[in-house]
Symmetry: C2
C-alpha cells in the first residue's frame, strides 16, 4: 500500500518536471559565454546543443585515417571488442538462462589493425544490411580517465586541452578528456555519470536518447551479476566475474519492454543527434543511451568536468535510489553502485 503511495508521489514528480521543462534542448548557434552556459545549462541542469564550439581545432582537418595511422604508428592501443557492439550492458545469456552486466573483451592492437577491423566490419554492414546482422565482432576505442593524455598524446595538440567557457563557468579544469572511435555497431546502454560532459563529434554523428535525473524511477535500475566477454572458437563466451554485482539500467529505449519495465511509460526522452562539428552539453546525472552512424566510422572527443557535489542534486539521487530501488522494488542496497561508471 505505502509502496504504491511512494510510486504515485514519484509519478507526480516526474510529470511536474516534464511540465516545467519539456524535451527540447537549448541550441546555441555559437559558443555561449561562461555566464550564459552556467545560467542556461549547468545551473538548471539542462542539455544543450552547441554549434561552432571547436571550429578552430586542427583535428577537424587533420584527423583522416591516414593521419591517425601515421601519428599512432604501430603504438599498441586498447580496444573494446564485443560480438554485438554492446559493451557495459545488461545481456541475457541463453547458456545459463540469466541476465548479466557484461563488460567487453579488451584487446591490445595497433591502430592500423583497429582501422582494418573497423573497415571490414563496415564493409560487411554494407553487404549484409543492418549493423546488428553483422557476424564479425564490433571494435570500439572508448578509453576514459584521461586516456587522451595517456594513450593519445600524439593527438593532443590537434584539439584544445579544455573547453574554455566551460572551465571558466565551472571554475576548474576537466577531470578527463576521452577519445572515441567506433562505428554504427557500437551502442552504449542507458546510464549516468557524475560529470558535466562536453561532447564533441569530429566524424559521423551520434544520437543521444536522454532522460533527466528525475526520471530515475522510470528506468527500473537493478543489480546484475557481472560477466565479461571472452573470445572462443565459437566467437565469444560470457565469463561470470564471481561475487561482483553491478547496478545498471535494463531498459532499452529503442525496444522498451513495457511488460517487464512498466514505469518506463512515464519517461519522456529528449532525443538529440549531434552531427560532425557540433557539441553536446550532457548535464551531470542525466541518463543517456548513445548510438552512432558514419560512413567511415565515428570519432568523438569529450571533456568530463566534476559535478558540483555541494548541490543537493547528488545526495538526492542517492535518496531516490533508496526509495525506488530498495523500498518500492525491494532491491538489495545499491550503495555499492559506483557512480563513475564508464561513459560514452
Amino acid at each position: 500500500m505505502t509502496k504504491k503511495e511512494i510510486e504515485r508521489a514519484f509519478i507526480k514528480y516526474v510529470k511536474e518536471y516534464q511540465d516545467l521543462n519539456g524535451v527540447i534542448p537549448h541550441v546555441f548557434d555559437q559558443p555561449p559565454t561562461a555566464l550564459e552556459f552556467l545560467q542556461k545549462c549547468v545551473h538548471p541542469n539542462r542539455p544543450a546543443l552547441i554549434k561552432g564550439a571547436f571550429d578552430h581545432w586542427p583535428a577537424n582537418e587533420l584527423w583522416t585515417d591516414e593521419y591517425l595511422r601515421m601519428k599512432m604508428k604501430d603504438q599498441k592501443i586498447t580496444v573494446a571488442v564485443t560480438p554485438n557492439g554492446q559493451a557495459d550492458a545488461v545481456t541475457y545469456d541463453p547458456k545459463t538462462d540469466q541476465e548479466y552486466f557484461v563488460m567487453p573483451h579488451e584487446e591490445q592492437m595497433t591502430f592500423d589493425s583497429f582501422l582494418t577491423h573497423l573497415g571490414s566490419s563496415s564493409q560487411q554492414q554494407k553487404e549484409q544490411g543492418t549493423p546488428s546482422s553483422s557476424s564479425s565482432p564490433a571494435y570500439y576505442i572508448s578509453l576514459q580517465n584521461g586516456s587522451l593524455p595517456l594513450e593519445y598524446s600524439d593527438l593532443e595538440d590537434d584539439i584544445d586541452p579544455d573547453i574554455a567557457w566551460c572551465s571558466e563557468a565551472l571554475g576548474c579544469q576537466p577531470d578527463a578528456v576521452n577519445f572515441w572511435f567506433g562505428d554504427a555497431r557500437s551502442v552504449t546502454s542507458l546510464h549516468k555519470d557524475p560529470y558535466e560532459n562536453c561532447y564533441a563529434v569530429l566524424r559521423g554523428e551520434k544520437t543521444f536518447i536522454l532522460f533527466p535525473p528525475s526520471e530515475y524511477m522510470c528506468l527500473h535500475e537493478s543489480t546484475y551479476p557481472s560477466a565479461i566477454y571472452t573470445p572462443s572458437k565459437a566467437g565469444f563466451d560470457l565469463t561470470p566475474s564471481p561475487g561482483i554485482q553491478v547496478p545498471w539500467i535494463p531498459v532499452d529505449p529503442l525496444r522498451p519492454d513495457f511488460a517487464r519495465y512498466p514505469r518506463f511509460k512515464y519517461a519522456k526522452p529528449m532525443v538529440i543527434t549531434v552531427r560532425q562539428g557540433e557539441m553536446l552539453y550532457l548535464p551531470s546525472l542525466w541518463f543517456h543511451h548513445v548510438s552512432q552512424a558514419g560512413e567511415n566510422g565515428v570519432i568523438a572527443v569529450n571533456y568530463w568536468y566534476d559535478m558540483n557535489y555541494q548541490h543537493a542534486m547528488f545526495p538526492s539521487m542517492g535518496l531516490t535510489r533508496r526509495l525506488v530501488s530498495e523500498i518500492i522494488d525491494g532491491q538489495p542496497t545499491l550503495d555499492m553502485a559506483s557512480d563513475d561508471d564508464d561513459d560514452q
Copy 2:
C-alpha cells in the same frame, strides 16, 4: 514498517548533504562578479554573507528617523501589529486549546505614529528587560510584493533598483523589492520562499537561522487552521478564518520541542548574523528563522528574484513534502500550500 524505511532513507540523505557541505556560509569581503555569484552561491544553492554590496547607496547616510519622517510626511502606511511580535507563526490559543497559523492585524497609520510606537516599545524594553516581557504591541513594517515602489516611492531613489551582479547572474530583474522596519520584538518563524533573496541590512542587525531544503523532513511541516489577530479591550483576540488551512513549520529553532518534533534533532542550522552594511544571499527554498536587534530599530531592504523553475529542485520539494508529510506523517495533502508565503 515502510514508513520507518522512508524515514531512514531521508535521515541518510540529510546526513549526506551535511557531510558534503557543513554549516559555514561563504563570505565575500567585496561583492562577487555575476559569474562568481552564480558559480559559488546560486548554482550550488548555498548561502553567502556579502560585504560592501551597497556602500554606494545614499540610504546609508540619509535614512535617519528625521529623514524618513520628513520623506513619508503623514502618508498612511500599513503596519503589521501583534501582541508578541510573532506574525505568520503557529500559535497556541488557550481559549480554544488549539494551535493556529496566526496572521498579524494590519493597521493604517502615519510613519510618524509608527516611529512613536516603535520608540515607546523599545523604551519599555529598556525598562523591563527582555523584549518578550513588553506589554505593548509589536509594530512591524513588512510589506512585500514590490511594496517599495508602491508605498515607499519617496525612498526608492536612495537605494539601487536591483543588485547588479545578481540581475546579471540570473538574467532577470527582481520580482519585488521589500522594505522592513521593526525592532527586537518582531521575529519571523521558520518558512521558505521560492525566491533567490538578496537581503541588505541598513540599520541594526538580523540573525538568520537557516536550514537547507534537504532538511525539510526535520521540520515537521503540518497544516493549521488560519486565524488573525484582532484588537480588543484586553489587547488582542485570535479570530479564526473559517475553512482556511495553512501548511506551516511549527518548530521554533530557539526553543525546540524535541518531544513533539523528534526529527528536528537531525537538523544542523547555519546561523548568520547580518550586520549594518552587510548583505545575505538567502538561496531559494532554504528555511529561515529571523530575529533582529538594534538600539533604534532595524531597517532592511531585500530583493526577491524568481528561482529557476527548470531546475529539479522545485518539483523535488513537492516530492519530499508528499513523502514526508503525507506518507510518513499521514498529513492531508499539502498541495494547497502556497510556496510564496510572506518572507522576512
